[in-house]
């Protein structure tokens, strides 16, 4: 009887429900209203709009660098590496050491045991150009090196043994490492903000028609873009990149094809760590301030950016990062429905919710073993 009833029932029609239609109409209205509003503001004060846009790109490119680390790791082993943001913070702390103490430091417990290798990199705004350039280069190099090492170590110690366990296990380990790094930083340089002197060239690169664009922001872009191109080339055109993509698609099959899966995953973590280190160094030198709990919030934002662009998708992470920086800047400047800085976090996360409702796989689509 039951079978007969089941077969008798008509097949469900593939009609889109009314609620879905309403949702789309609501989305379209919201989108048009937002762009209309932005256009109105742009016409109202074009020079300030452009200036704010440039600020957004600069802040966004730092999000993008951190977001890439999340996305690389997620794309390959589907793990949200919560320690990544804190690794970024450690990078900014290392830069603080290199610029203010003139030494590469390794924090050991207790504080008195900080290992230091003097490099003569101490620099302030008034130092000679050569000295500042040397300091910037060393800060970038050592922060990237340190974060790379930390990321690979964390993977080997914490994630690798749990690779075939339920996915919650490495996630909890990641949260654990996040706290661990935060507390190391707390012991290393205590809880107060750590100021870093302005060693990027000062003054404005562009200053016409009320639009100003400073050298510091330009240097952020000058460092970020080659890093992004290099990463893109690594993943797209090298053997190691091919191995990464293969491992991301199917670990077992990749292994059978002679790819060393362990080494490939370590390589991915090394890349992510290096990007976090670079972002940390740029942040410390451009923003000029760092703090032990910086990683949690910025990490959350970067992760949001990665999801916004489509997790696992490298171009998506960059797009998401820049978009996030842009939204934050536009809203801070009062360009989004006159909401203003008080509401920036609310706006960012509302946009995230909306995008996930309308396009759950992010703007450019997920690229994960499952999502492909």
């Amino acid at each position: 009887v039951a079978t007969a009833e089941t077969t008798a029932r008509p097949l469900p029609t593939r009609r889109i429900p009314v609620s879905q239609w309403l949702l789309w109409i609501f989305g379209a209205i919201l989108l048009i209203a937002t762009f209309g509003w932005l256009l109105k503001e742009f016409i109202g004060s074009p020079s300030r709009f452009i200036e704010v846009g440039l600020i957004g790109v600069t802040n966004g490119s730092i999000y993008a660098l951190v977001a890439l680390g999340y996305t690389l790791v997620y794309g390959i082993i589907e793990l949200i590496n919560f320690a990544h943001g804190d690794n970024f913070m450690i990078g900014s702390f290392e830069t603080h050491s290199i610029v203010t103490e003139g030494a590469f430091q390794l924090p050991l417990y207790p504080t008195t045991l900080v290992l230091g290798i003097p490099l003569g990199t101490t620099a302030v705004a008034a130092s000679s150009g050569a000295q500042r350039a040397y300091s910037i280069a060393m800060a970038l190099f050592f922060s990237m090196l340190l974060c790379m090492t930390i990321n690979v170590t964390i993977e080997r110690l914490g994630y690798k043994p749990l690779r075939n366990q339920p996915r919650l296990a490495p996630l909890i380990t990641a949260i654990g490492f996040s706290f661990l790094l935060q507390n190391i930083a707390l012991i290393w340089k205590n809880a107060s903000p750590q100021p870093v002197p302005d060693i990027f060239p000062q003054g404005n690169l562009i200053s016409t028609h009320g639009v100003t664009y400073d050298w510091g922001a330009f240097i952020v872009i000058v460092i970020t873009i080659p890093l992004l191109l290099l990463l893109s080339w690594l993943v797209r055109a090298t053997k190691a990149g091919k191995a990464m993509r293969a491992t991301a698609q199917d670990q077992d099959a990749a292994g059978m094809m002679g790819i060393n899966v362990d080494r490939t995953i370590s390589f991915t973590f090394a890349l992510g760590g290096a990007l976090a280190g670079a972002a940390g160094a740029i942040y410390a030198m451009y923003i000029g301030n760092t703090k032990f709990d910086l990683g949690f919030r910025l990490g959350l934002f970067a992760f949001t950016a990665a999801v916004l662009g489509g997790i696992g998708n490298l171009n998506g992470a960059v797009l998401g990062g820049i978009l996030l920086g842009e939204i934050a800047a536009l809203n801070d400047a009062g360009f989004l429905f006159n909401l203003g800085a008080r509401w920036t976090n609310t706006v960012i996360f509302s946009i995230l919710i909306l995008i996930l409702v309308f396009k759950p796989s992010g703007l450019l689509g997920e690229q994960t073993p499952e999502g492909q």
């Binding site: 802040n59 707390l186 809880a191 107060s192 903000p193 002197p197 801070d332 203003g340 008080r342």
Partner: protein, 413 residues
């Protein structure tokens, strides 16, 4: 052999006395033989970790020094002192859960008859109601939020009654509340700095928003145009976009209400970079920014010329006894911080209330608001709300890496 031992023990005893400071040890014993003194405990509740650690550590040291000087005795009571911490290392600032746990601890310990604290208004809003039910007296050396004691610009609905569920006030403070700060800052900006249009920023926290709201109200009252009022996010990367908005309003003055540990250094830095230096666009900051650490966090050049108000006296204007005490503090614990003398004043007010009481918690609370004392910062008495009867604000200016005293203003009555 025995005599050698005796000599050795004697020598050790001498050594011990030497370490402890011989004179104090002697008076201590003498006092002890006096007999029937009742021992009571007074505790301090301050954030001992994070940005304000240097200041709060010194406040506790000064409190201990003062107690030592009076031989730990007042009236018929022997005072025991213990310092508590309401901050956590991970936060580097006061912490809600720690504040609540501390207050419960004090309530349970029957020997505690008074608390010197808190440092942050937000923490007081948690602790005072818990202590109120147990009639435990609080005297704060540094809280300035309006709503703790009375209704005024910057207070929230239901304040201050919600902090005193038993109906009896158990809280007083030795510093001027923020409604007065807002008032004085607004008239100073208009009359002395010649500002016509002001943009207001707050840190979105209880204290910061309170003082900024009070300022906004006062600014409108004195006829200062308010170009806008925004909150800044302590975790943002930077505030350049926000500053372009301020610049576009054409404001010639900025008021910042909040605590500098909420990324205040970055805020000041971006203000100078985008809006202009502090001569062109005048900046006035509330007392939460008047800290030596701001010069490090923002860079001394960017703080140059900023005005800041604080409800504390110019150290040079302290009365004779206060100057003497400050000199001792300086000798032992380094340059006195803004609130150090006020920690001692809070203790002195608590002791005055204790002296008039029967030594019970209830007795101290009953005598709290009527307490009077000639403290290290001059004579203090409380008004009916538990605020100091003499309300004033000092204006300081950032100059060459230091906060320099400019002028003192009494509250308009």
């Amino acid at each position: 052999v025995l005599s050698v031992l005796v000599v050795l023990v004697g020598a050790l005893a001498l050594l011990a006395a030497g370490c402890g400071g011989g004179e104090e040890a002697a008076t201590g014993t003498a006092g002890g033989t006096g007999g029937e003194a009742k021992t009571v405990k007074i505790v301090s509740d301050l954030p001992l970790q994070g940005s304000s650690a240097a200041q709060t550590e010194q406040m506790n040291n000064a409190t201990k020094l003062y107690l030592q000087e009076i031989g730990n005795k007042v009236g018929g009571y022997t005072i025991q002192f213990e310092a508590f911490d309401d901050s956590t290392a991970a936060k580097g600032a006061w912490d809600e859960a720690t504040c609540a746990a501390n207050a419960r601890k004090y309530v349970e310990d029957e020997t505690i008859i008074g608390v010197l604290g808190t440092f942050n208004s937000g923490c007081a809003k948690i602790e005072v109601p818990i202590a109120n039910e147990a009639s435990l007296a609080y005297v704060s050396p540094a809280n300035t939020a309006v709503g703790l004691t009375h209704v005024g610009p910057g207070s929230e609905p239901g304040e201050p009654e919600k902090y005193y569920p038993s109906g009896t006030r158990n809280y007083a403070r030795v510093v001027t509340p923020d409604d007065v700060q807002g008032q004085i800052d607004a008239s100073y900006m208009k009359d002395k700095l010649g500002v016509t249009k002001v943009f207001i920023l707050d840190d979105k926290d209880a204290y910061g928003k309170g003082v900024a709201d009070a300022f906004e109200q006062a600014a409108k009252d004195v006829g200062l145009e308010v170009a806008g009022h925004e909150g800044w996010d302590a975790n943002a990367q930077n505030y350049k976009a926000l500053m372009t908005q301020i610049k576009s309003t054409g404001a010639d003055g900025i008021f910042i209400g909040g605590i500098s540990c909420f990324n205040g250094g970055q805020l000041v830095k971006d203000k100078v970079a985008v809006v202009g230096d502090n001569d062109t666009v005048k900046t006035v900051v509330s007392d939460g920014f008047v800290q030596a650490s701001l010069f490090d966090e923002a860079g001394a050049d960017n703080v140059e010329g900023i005005y800041g108000s604080a409800p504390t006296l110019n150290p040079d204007d302290l009365p004779g006894a206060g100057k003497e005490f400050n000199a001792k503090v300086e000798q032992q614990f380094g340059k006195p911080e803004v609130y150090t003398a006020y920690a001692v004043a809070a203790l002195q007010m608590m002791l005055a209330a204790l002296e008039n009481s029967d030594g019970t918690r209830q007795g101290v609370v009953e005598n709290l608001l009527s307490a009077q004392a000639d403290t290290v910062v001059g004579p203090i008495k409380f008004d009916e709300n538990g605020d100091p009867a003499d309300k004033f604000e000092s204006i300081f200016q950032g100059k060459g890496g230091n906060w320099t005293f400019v002028e003192q203003f009494a509250a308009a009555s």
